[in-house]
Structures are given as C-alpha cells and as structure tokens.
C-alpha cells in the first residue's frame, strides 16, 4: 500500500509575507501557477515514458488498461462535472494543494527505489519543479487570504515499505501514481483557467508569428 511520510511538507512555513503595497493582486501568480502546470505536464511526459519503459511491459504498452485496484490513498483527480464546476475558489485551490502534497511525497518514495542514476536524476528534477508548483499555489492562497490546509493530528500520512507487497503490485502502484499525476496536471490547468478568468482582465493575446515553408 502506498503511504507517505511528509512531515516536512505539511509544516512548510507560510510563503514569506508578500509585499502588499503595489500588489498587482493574485492575477500574475495565478498565471505563473498555470504556466508551471503546463511546464510540469510537459516534463512529466518524458519522465513517465522513461519510467514506464523501466517498469517494462505491460506498463509501457499504450493499450494497457488495468482496473483501478490498490493505490487507494492516491489523491484522485476525477470529480463529478457539476461538483467541479461549482467548487468555490478556496476549495478548488485547497484540493490542488493537498493533491500535489501527497503526490510529491509518493514521488519521493519512488525516487528512493529507482534503480538507475538517470531515473533518480529525472525524478529529483521533477520533484523540485513540483515543489515549486506547491509553493506557487501556496502563494496564490496566501494572496487571497486562504489558510494553507493543515493535516489533522493522527492522520498524517506515513510511508512504510509494505513487506507483503509483491513486485508486480508495486509496479502497478507506480503506474497509477504517474497516471494520477498526469491527470491532476491537466485538471489543474483547467482549475487555474477558471480562477484566472475570475481574477484578471482579459489576457493580452500572445502572438507567435511563424513562416512555414512548403506547408
């Protein structure tokens, strides 16, 4: 069973107090958070490809479609459409923050077990970026005056290497971790889109002028 000890994360000090004078509001930091999710999603694509190849078949097969068993403690991105639409800003941000806190913890566990140095390097890099995303979300929440979620005493997740955990089941857990991470990043992009629209004036158009030859 996947479980995670991340005392360090939960006691993350609040983001250094923002200089409120001349504060442009949460808009720019929402945009930054959105951009980070896109960057991470891009990074994850190559990381997941490499990691799944390391796990070997059937995990790296594109048609692999296993039933969702185990990995119950993974934060799930899936949500009822109407519920998702009607989330208030605070809840939306909190769910993102909590999800990535857990996912980062599990990823660090993955890093501990990873066999090759190259994999460990990629995972470490990704963990750093993910930490950056967490900080960014925390910044948005602080700017909006929402408290960071604190774990209830006794429910702090602890990571224990499951002794009876078979190799195959462990790989299944890894597979679902990566899948859930990818889905959360897509969901976050949509979450932050919604927040962006509510906070900002219409964003300026970004024009990329390309001249294509023989297109």
């Amino acid at each position: 069973m996947l479980a995670c000890l991340c005392a360090v994360l939960w006691h993350l000090p609040a983001v250094p107090a923002l200089n409120r004078t001349g504060d442009p509001g949460p808009g720019p930091s929402i945009q930054k958070t959105y951009d980070l999710t896109r960057y991470l999603e891009h990074q994850l694509r190559s990381l997941a490809g490499t990691y799944l190849n390391y796990l070997g078949p059937p995990f790296n097969e594109p048609d692999f479609n296993p039933p969702r068993l185990g990995a119950e403690t993974l934060p799930r991105a899936t949500v009822n459409l109407e519920v998702w639409r009607s989330l208030n800003d605070r809840l939306r941000l909190t769910q993102n923050y909590e999800a990535y806190s857990h996912l980062l913890c599990y990823l660090r566990g993955l890093n501990r077990q990873a066999a090759t140095a190259e994999l460990r390097r990629s995972l470490a890099h990704f963990c750093t970026s993910l930490q950056g995303l967490l900080g960014s979300i925390a910044g948005v929440m602080a700017a909006l005056g929402y408290p960071l979620p604190q774990p209830l005493p006794g429910t702090e997740p602890t990571w224990t290497p499951g002794p009876a955990h078979s190799d195959f089941l462990q790989k299944m857990d890894d597979f679902w971790l990566l899948k859930e991470l990818q889905t959360w990043l897509w969901r976050s992009a949509k979450d932050f889109n919604r927040l962006k629209k509510k906070m900002q004036p219409p964003a300026a158009a970004v024009t990329l002028h390309l001249e294509a030859h023989g297109f």
Binding site: R38, E41, D63, N65, P67, R68, R76, A77, T78, V79, N80, L81, W84, R85, W176, K179, E180, T183, W184, W186, R187, A189, K190, N193, R194, K197, P202, A203, A204, A205, V206, T207, L208, H209, L210, E211, A212, H213, G214, F215
Partner: protein
Amino acid sequence: MAAPVPWACCAVLAAAAAVVYAQRHGPQETPHVQYERLGSDVTLPCGTANWDAAVTWRVNGTDLAPDLLNGSQLVLRGLELGHSGVYACFHRDSWHLRHQVLLNVGLPPREPVLSCRSNTYPKGFYCSWHLPTPTYIPNTFNVTVLHGSKIMVCEKDPALKNRCHIRYMHLFSTVKYKVSISVSNALGHNATAITFDEFTIVKPDPPENVVARPVPSNPRRLEVTWQTPSTWPDPESFPLKFFLRYRPLILDQWQHVELSDGTAHTITDAYAGKEYIIQVAAKDNEIGTWSDWSVAAHATPWTEEPRHLTTEAQAPETTTSTTSSLAPPPTTKICDPGELGSGGGPSAPFFISVLVTLALAAAAAAAATAGNLLI
C-alpha cells in the same frame, strides 16, 4: 405477325391471374426471404414439390429459361446483385403458385470502422462508425461503452443513424473508455473496439463565421474575426486557442499565427492589392487536437482608388514628389497619337490623357508599396 401477339397477351393475362390468385390465397404464399452471398451458387427448391414435378420459374414476373432448372429446382450460379428479386415457381399446367422466394444477394460485414470524438468537452463525446465496403443487405449495429467496469449509455443520434452520444458523468478520469461495436446481417457478423483516455479524443469543431475585411487607408492590413464554435459548451472554463493561416491566392506558402486568446487578429504584412485566403483552426488550450480548418475567408487589402488628375490639382497623399508633375514617368510608354486609327471612338487627346492618368496611378501605387509603409 398477328398470331403470337394474342397468344402472348393471353399468357400475360394468365400470369396476372395466377399472381392475383396466389396473393389472395393465404399466408403460405408470402415469399420466403432468403439471403445469399455474392458470387456463390444457390439452388432454390420449389417449396415441397417433388424433384420431378413440372414447374415454371419466374423472377419478378419474367419467365426464366428452363436450362436453369435442375428438375423442379432453380439453380443460380455466380450470384450477382442483379439476381436479387422475387422468384416464384408455378405448377406448369395449372399455373398454381407453389412457392415464392425473395432473394437478397449480399455480403457478410467486414470489420467496421469506429471512431470517437469530443467536440463538446466537457459535456460528452460521440462515436460514429461505418462499414468499409457495402453489404447490400440490412445490417444491425450494437454499440457498448465501458468506463472501467461501468457500462455507459450511448444515445442514438436523432438524425444520423451511424452515430451515438455519451455524456460525461465524471471529468479528469484516469480510467480509459472502451467502445465496442458489433455488426451483423443474415450472412455473418463482425466487431471491433477502441480504447482511449478522456483527453485524447478532444477535438473542437472549426471556428465559425470567419470574416476578413480590408482596413481603410492601410494597404497591407487585413482584419480577421471569427467566433468560437457554437458546439463548444463552455469557452470560459475551457478556453480555446486558435491557429490562423493565410496566403495570397497566387502563392502556395502559408503564413501561420498562433493566438492564445481572442477571436480577432490583424494581418499586417499582406501584399498590397493581392487577394488573400484565410482560415482558422481551434484547439482546447491544454488537451486534445486541433480542429479541421474553418471555411475559408477571402479578402483583398485596401487599395487606393486611382484619381483623374484633370479634375484634381493635387497629387494623391501617398505619392512622392517626383510623381506630382503631369509628365509621365520615362518608363511608361505612351501611345503615339499617330498610331491610333481614324474613325469611331474617343478622340485622340482624350485617349492620351486617360493613358497618362492610368500611368500616374500605377506609378503612385508602386511608390506606395515600395516606399515608406504605414505599419
């Protein structure tokens, strides 16, 4: 030849009478429906008649040659589509209808082609299917949609009979969807299935109402506007980005612009006076694929109207000073009045002044494009 005609006439009447008799005499005379494979051979027995019974076969009312018979059975070899029809066998002497067969020649279905797409994300997606080759006989399709282990309902499209729609209950799912279709007809059956993630099938419809307009007093600009496709249900939460491509009709090379927001763009590097073709495509900002290209818009940038210098003391604003005189530029050939024929038509001096005006206007336009531009 008078003799065969009344005889043929009687035969036709007799056949008609037999058919009417057959139709009036009960359910055992309704044709037995039979499906046979294209290219195969089939032997049609005349109902329960003995092999050596004397019968005549007809197809759709036309007599069939006796060399097709094997006793009382009709043998058809190498079935073609044209063999489809109502085959009836009659007792030769009494014209009593013994048996009727509605023969349909066709093929068993090949593997169907199935595809799914979400142009209404996050509301739902649709799947459509077709057979790669026709079967010529009726087919029934059965579609099932599985999300993990959960069965979802695929509602038939009210207008298109090879399409059905599925509504998303949950978004951001890590579990794939599996859509299976089976097709069967009287000669066989086939099936196929596809599996996909929620995000991979997102493909909006093309942008609508793409309009391109020239910009007054700007010979190198075109203003393009469009609308998000009306089928995209929630552009606020699921914004679209756009890709615009344009080229003058006379060139093959497209220019591209990617726009992350907004439904308008001004092209600023159009070739003056050339007609342009412009198209736009749309994509969800993060997931899925680009739509097809929109219907093309055509436009030509604004060009200045040539003016008659005989009515204007001033040259047009955009010309340089060298063309402000009435003298034609040295490179422009002016028709020698002596070359003009005599007779009907405008008088020579008028013709010359028209030519001069046109030459100056051409020079003015050339100066405008070659010189400083208003960008």
